[in-house]
Symmetry: C2
Subunit: 225 residues, 2 copies
DNA sequence: ATCCCTTTGTGAACCGATGCACAAAGTAGG
DNA sequence: CCTACTTTGTGCATCGGTTCACAAAGGGAT
């Protein structure tokens, strides 16, 4: 760090942010196996990326490596966790407790680090009042009140597609600015709200596209003309 | 089409492929509502993208629009479906019938167009033999035989992380070249195999990153030095 | 203290994707 | 047939991201 430029620039590329969780997961595995330091080469392999990319990604957080040695695993875990905001525990709410919502609620894995399910909501009277993974399912009418009271800042949307936009609007109105959407609809939200989507059917269609190419590829030089 | 270049170039950009399912979904909705033609502007809005991007995407498939009018909805549905390989019905197998595997199996939505669940596998004797969504759960030992017999070409992996790579190897050995992975591991596969991953915890971490920025952003100009 | 070896951090070239802006192509109406 | 209007398809500038390749930095040995 000589003179100009920022040592740790605020403004990490989006592509880098999307990979940090991958590095973090690999590092956790290494820490558990008692590995103290790791080279960019080894960490990159474990995370399934190329080592130049990994080094550039980490360089956006700061100069946390030691030349000739590598990165201290514990220290890097801490730095990435801090950067991702995982040093605090985020309260997540699940809206729509059907097939998928239940699976998510029962999923131990994502409670692991940095997140916990703080509330669950449904509109169906048969479902409201059920206890799932030790938590009571609230009625959707209580959405605003419960979100405020329990400090929910991330909402997982697992309602049918038809209800998603309406529920989304209420969630946003309640002050939530981060949404993970499983319903197959394009949600319309204010610019200040982040929506990420998980869409099974899109993923399958992309796979089908490539599968078709593989099948027909080499032989299928048949032009339509 | 004057002289050089391909009218319909094989080699559609990956980013375009990932959006085609979005357009298709919007078009299906319009077809159901009886809309016969649609402009790039309207279709783009429905799909949540910008219209120049949509037109460029569609131009990779061919010149299917009419200037001054727009695109014929039915025709475009057919062309995109064909391009994505949805004019055939793909046999999908689900491996790992736990919380998530069950939710996926019971999910009607993805059977809808172009895909059907042709087999389900698990290693747990208590689960094998169960009937879920009208289909018998097979033992994982029968993987290779059943995959061949039923012509499975896409596998959805929903086993615990620890088992994922081993199952993946068997699936690949059985000739499958398209995998949708829900387990939080980096799968290692030959280059000819396509793997797409769905990772809840990565999505949440990305949301947490941005949420943290929003919270501390404007005020948090505190430098660590 | 010097030399050799390893590995980081980054400048620079490259590549694919995005979005603007407009000519070309079509419709509709007189 | 000609004019006015609409909307596509694309050339081009730009941007963000990836990859290469190497100078600089540090550790360890002698
Ligand atoms: N199940 C899957 O594997 C899967 C996969 C991909 C996508 N999805 C999508 O995820 C969503 C949920 O899928 P599912 O299989 O769990 O459906 P589901 O029908 O089993 O569950 C939906 C739940 O949402 C509740 N609900 C309906 N309207 C509501 C409202 N206004 N407010 C609150 N709750 C409401 C229903 O009572 C029901 O319990 C759907 O949009 C589906 O397309 C599911
Ligand atoms: N449940 C969720 O919401 C969720 C969300 C994100 C990711 N995931 C991931 O999806 C995977 C499945 O999650 P889950 O909650 O359904 O777990 P689960 O434990 O409920 O189910 C896993 C199933 O896989 C079976 N299995 C184990 N080893 C197997 C093998 N070698 N061959 C075949 N089957 C085998 C088990 O018998 C079990 O039925 C996990 O990797 C989890 O991390 C789950």
């Amino acid at each position: 760090m000589k003179s100009p430029s920022h040592p740790r620039d605020r403004g990490i590329p989006e592509a880098t942010v999307a990979r940090l969780p991958l590095y973090l997961r690999a590092l956790h595995g290494m820490a558990e196996r008692g590995i103290a330091t790791v080279s960019s080469e080894d960490l990159a392999t474990a995370a399934g990326v190329n080592s130049a990319k990994l080094r550039k990604d980490l360089s956006h957080l700061g100069s946390y490596g030691t030349r000739g040695v590598g990165y201290d695993v514990e220290y890097l875990v801490y730095q990435i966790s801090r950067e991702l905001g995982l040093t605090q525990d985020w309260a997540v709410a699940i809206v729509g407790v059907g097939n998928l919502g239940r699976a998510l609620a029962n999923y131990g894995g994502f409670v692991s680090r940095g997140f916990h399910v703080a509330a669950m909501f449904d509109a169906d009277p048969d479902v409201v009042g059920d206890t799932i993974a030790g938590l009571n399912v609230e009625h959707i009418d209580a959405l605003e009140a419960v979100i405020k009271r329990r400090g929910v800042s991330i909402v997982v949307l697992a309602t049918p597609a038809a209800a998603a936009q309406e529920v989304c609007d209420r969630v946003v109105a309640a002050g939530v600015t981060s949404i993970l959407n499983f319903a197959p609809v394009v949600l319309s939200v204010p610019g200040s709200v982040d929506v990420r989507k998980v869409d099974l059917s899109i993923e399958l269609q992309i796979l089908a596209f490539h599968e078709q190419r593989k099948a027909g590829g080499p032989l299928m030089a048949v032009d339509t003309q």
